[in-house]
């Protein structure tokens, strides 16, 4: 199993390397990949019926993350869908995507998706499952936005990624909590430690997080809106990802967990309510759409709702119905999608109002559409008939008044679904020819065969249901409950309540179909009604966040240098003051300092005057002179307090600075007197407070006796080790000689910079 997934990922990458001509030639054979995988998995069918197949490869065993895979009934069902529908979709895409500039990229993404989806349904480790889960979201993102020149496609892709990816992250949190509770990330271990999980106080959180992941992925209310948007993807993608496989990942996950979660903390109630609402919402919406793909998208949402509902009911009969319904839905919905794609390709439109009478030229395609619609509607003897019958039966046989209400809702939803199936599969072929096509575009066999196969397959499976039941449906139930159950499919049921209901659904649905005329009017009314929707809510939320951060950014990043400096300083002040309050008390410890001498006082006074002069002067010359005075003052201070080397250096550097300044002065701008009084006061406050803080800190530090160990080492060893008597010099050129070398390099670089800036001649 690991090999199969690695082959998919490897090929996905490998396809990228092809050049266009070679790629187009070789990718014609790409349907062989899912086909051979299908054969591989089919060959395991016997073993699956007897029990699960397991594979184990350690990955990060220290953290409990392993590449462990398990093929049981439920996984088997999904792998068959992935590979089976996959084969048809690959086959179909070879023609559908022909001449597309990114033909190769398409197959690369498609293969990446197939690998991830296989990994998702086969993983027995929660963390690996999560990785594959997000990989499907990512490949879905690429495929929805495949026509990336289209702005709306990009937008839809981002919406889908945001919703499914976000849900996936919540799911990860749930997985981690589960892993902590049970002490293992292995699904098979988790399923067995159901009691441990049931007792945990974190169970409600886990359940809600699992729901968050599953409901976003499977487009349940109120997260449904990404799915209709995702119809911007090429039709084979809508068929494969957004109807047959990926959107069912949420269903898969919850079905997987249903053995341990069933009956815990509102699990069933939430599923029934959310699933039921989604089912009705999708069904009602579907018939009011005029875009064929939109109709199919909403029926898909409705079907996903039904699946959630069935998991919520959780009885053996419901689980059986679920397994059957997943197959039914995949077959007929993929068929309808592929028919729609073929129509779109030849007629250049998918608008129901602009299509009609296609039967005349497209007899075989009509047959495919009709078969799919019949299966979707649940007419005998299609597979859909059995699916619907099982659902009704599972609800009716419990004899609970609550479930009877649900049965009523399912009945209602199904009437709409019957109508929508016929709208999508039959309507374009019947009636008057609206757009006369001259000449009729030829329909490639590649586009015709896959939907026809699906339709015929559904019919055959419907006539001989026992084969599918024994090999696929029953193992699903077995994998979930650990028990086997007797076959329940019958071609002809007696004239009981459920059968009557089944027939009534079809009759009402067909009445609705014949009397209901699709028009833009309904669609607009519906759009009007859905002003307050989760989609708009999300949009508002995104806008709000954007606005908030753009305001914040403009506030902090307004492009004025002084403003940045001020922000940094204010923040620094806040930090230091906070630390002063909490860290150490500010006490004015009396510094037992040296007394002040007259000459020192004069020097300090001179420095203060210089500084004040630089602050107040309007003349650049005056400020240069004042700077000179300040430097000289520093020089004297060093001299007074036993630092002759510093005094000398300061003197030399100060002179240089002043000289340089004077040299450049001619080419420097005049002082501007653009003083905003309010701003000025603010700046005075900032700098004043900062200066005061520095003074305080200095006084604090002076009061603390510092250790002089290092200085003592230098004092004792300067002559003995380095043969130098001036200790400062010895430190610089001997003990820390390498540092000084680096300093020289820095200075040299700065000098180079100065030199080249002066010599630089701008070309513009």
């Amino acid at each position: 199993m690991l090999t199969a997934i690695i082959i998919c990922f490897g090929l996905a990458f490998f396809f990228f390397l092809f050049n266009k001509d070679f790629g187009e030639r070789i990718l014609k054979w790409s349907p062989l990949l899912p086909a051979s995988l299908l054969i591989y998995f089919l060959s395991k069918g016997n073993e699956v019926r007897q029990g699960a197949l397991q594979e184990f490869t350690p990955w990060v065993p220290e953290m409990g993350i392993n590449l462990s895979f398990k093929l049981d009934g439920l996984s088997f069902l999904f792998t068959l869908l992935i590979c089976g529908i996959g084969t048809l979709v690959y086959f179909y895409s070879v023609n559908y995507m022909k001449n597309h500039p990114h033909f190769i990229r398409f197959f690369s993404f498609l293969t990446l998706f197939m690998g991830s989806m296989l990994g998702l349904v086969l993983s027995d480790n929660l963390i690996t499952l999560f990785i594959f889960w997000e990989l499907t979201s990512i490949s879905s993102f690429f495929l929805i936005g495949f026509n990336h020149q289209d702005k709306n496609a990009r937008k839809s892709a981002i919406t889908a990624l945001a919703i499914t990816g976000g849900g996936g992250l919540l799911l990860l949190v749930g997985f981690v909590i589960l892993g902590i509770i049970a002490g293992s990330y292995e699904l098979s271990v988790l399923i067995e430690s159901g009691d441990l999980i049931a007792e945990s106080i974190y169970l409600p959180i886990v359940i809600l997080l699992l729901f968050a992941g599953a409901f976003t992925k499977s487009a349940q209310l109120p997260f449904h809106f990404w799915l209709p948007d995702a119809m911007r993807a090429p039709t084979p993608i809508s068929t494969y990802l957004h109807s047959a496989t990926m959107v069912k990942a949420g269903v898969y996950l919850l079905a997987r967990f249903s053995p341990i979660m069933d009956g815990e903390f509102y699990w069933n109630e939430i599923l029934i309510i959310v699933g039921g609402t989604t089912m009705i919402y999708g069904a009602v919406n579907s018939i009011f759409k005029t875009d064929l793909k939109a109709i199919l998208a909403y029926t898909t949402i409705s079907a996903l709702g039904t699946m959630m509902l069935l998991i919520g009911i959780g009885t053996p009969a419901a689980l059986l119905a679920l397994a059957a319904f997943i197959i039914v839905h995949a077959l007929y919905k993929a068929g309808l999608f592929l028919v729609t794609g073929a129509i779109d390709k030849t007629e250049k439109t998918r608008d129901l109002l602009a299509l009609g009478g296609l039967m005349k030229h497209r007899k075989l395609l009509f047959a495919a559409g009709l078969l799919a619609a019949v299966s979707g509607a649940g007419l005998i003897p299609s597979l859909g008939y059995h699916g619907k019958h099982l659902i009704y039966e599972s609800l009716y046989n419990e004899h609970s008044s609550f479930l009877m209400v649900i049965l009523g809702l399912v009945f209602l939803a199904n009437i709409f679904i019957v109508c929508a199936s016929f709208l999508a599969g039959v309507k374009p072929f019947t009636g008057k020819i609206i757009a006369e096509q001259k000449p009729v575009n030829p329909l490639s066999m590649f586009l015709l065969i896959p939907p026809l196969l699906l339709g015929v397959g559904g019919l055959i499976a419907g006539v001989f249901p026992a084969f599918i039941e024994k090999n696929v449906v029953l193992p699903v139930y077995q994998s979930l409950s650990g028990k086997s159950i007797d076959p329940a499919f019958h071609l002809l049921h007696g004239l009981d309540f459920v059968s009557i209901l089944s027939w009534l659904t079809i009759i009402f649905g067909l009445i609705l179909y014949f009397f209901f005329k699709p028009s833009l009017h309904y669609q607009n009314t519906l759009n009007h009604l859905s002003k307050v929707s989760s989609r708009n809510l999300l949009k508002e939320l995104i806008d709000l966040v954007k606005k908030l951060f753009s305001t914040l950014t403009h506030l902090l990043q307004n492009g004025y240098l002084r403003y940045y400096t001020a922000v940094i300083l204010v923040f620094l002040i806040i930090l230091i003051v906070f630390r002063m309050y909490t860290g150490f008390g500010i006490g004015f410890q009396a510094v037992e300092g040296t007394s002040i001498r007259f000459i020192e006082g004069v020097t300090i006074f001179m420095m203060v005057v210089s500084i004040v002069m630089t602050l107040y002067t309007d003349s650049r010359v005056v400020s240069v002179v004042a700077l000179g005075g300040l430097g000289l003052g520093m020089c004297l201070l060093y001299l007074f307090f036993s630092a002759p080397d510093l005094a000398m250096t300061q003197f030399a550097i100060d002179t240089l600075t002043v000289v340089l300044f004077v040299l450049l002065l001619r080419n420097l701008p005049l002082y501007l007197n653009k003083v905003d009084r309010r701003l000025n006061i603010k700046d005075i406050m900032i700098s004043g407070i900062f200066g005061a803080i520095i003074t305080l800190i200095t006084l604090e530090v002076i009061a603390v006796q510092s250790s002089r160990e290092i200085s003592q080492f230098y004092a004792e060893n300067a002559y003995l080790l380095a043969k130098g008597k001036n200790i400062v010099n010895v430190i610089l050129v001997d003990f820390r000689g390498a540092d000084t070398l680096v300093e020289i390099i820095v200075l040299a670089v700065a000098g180079l910079g100065v030199f080249s800036l002066i010599k630089l001649k701008m070309n513009d």
Partner: protein, 117 residues
Amino acid sequence: METVLAILTGFMYAAGIYLILRRSLVKLIVGLIILGNGSNLLIFLLGGITRGNPPVIGENESMLTGIYADPLPQALILTAIVISFGLQAFAMVLLQREYVQGGVEDFDSIKEEEEAL
């Protein structure tokens, strides 16, 4: 004395920052210089100040004993003085070029120019 010098240091910091916060290019340089001197004084002060005892070993001695000024901060400051000169020189030339080439008189006009692009 220490207290007075500590206040002087704070004042130099305040003045330097105030000048850096101005719009003028030249004031930025002046502010940088004052700030640099202020930090040197800060380091000097933190090492403790001593009068008339430079860290130089006497004529016939082989090591320094008794009271002497701390050589470590002095070495640091010596480095700092030189490096800050490098910085100042570079800043000066850079701003001068900006003025001569771009006609930029103050920092706000840099921003306005960028927005115009």
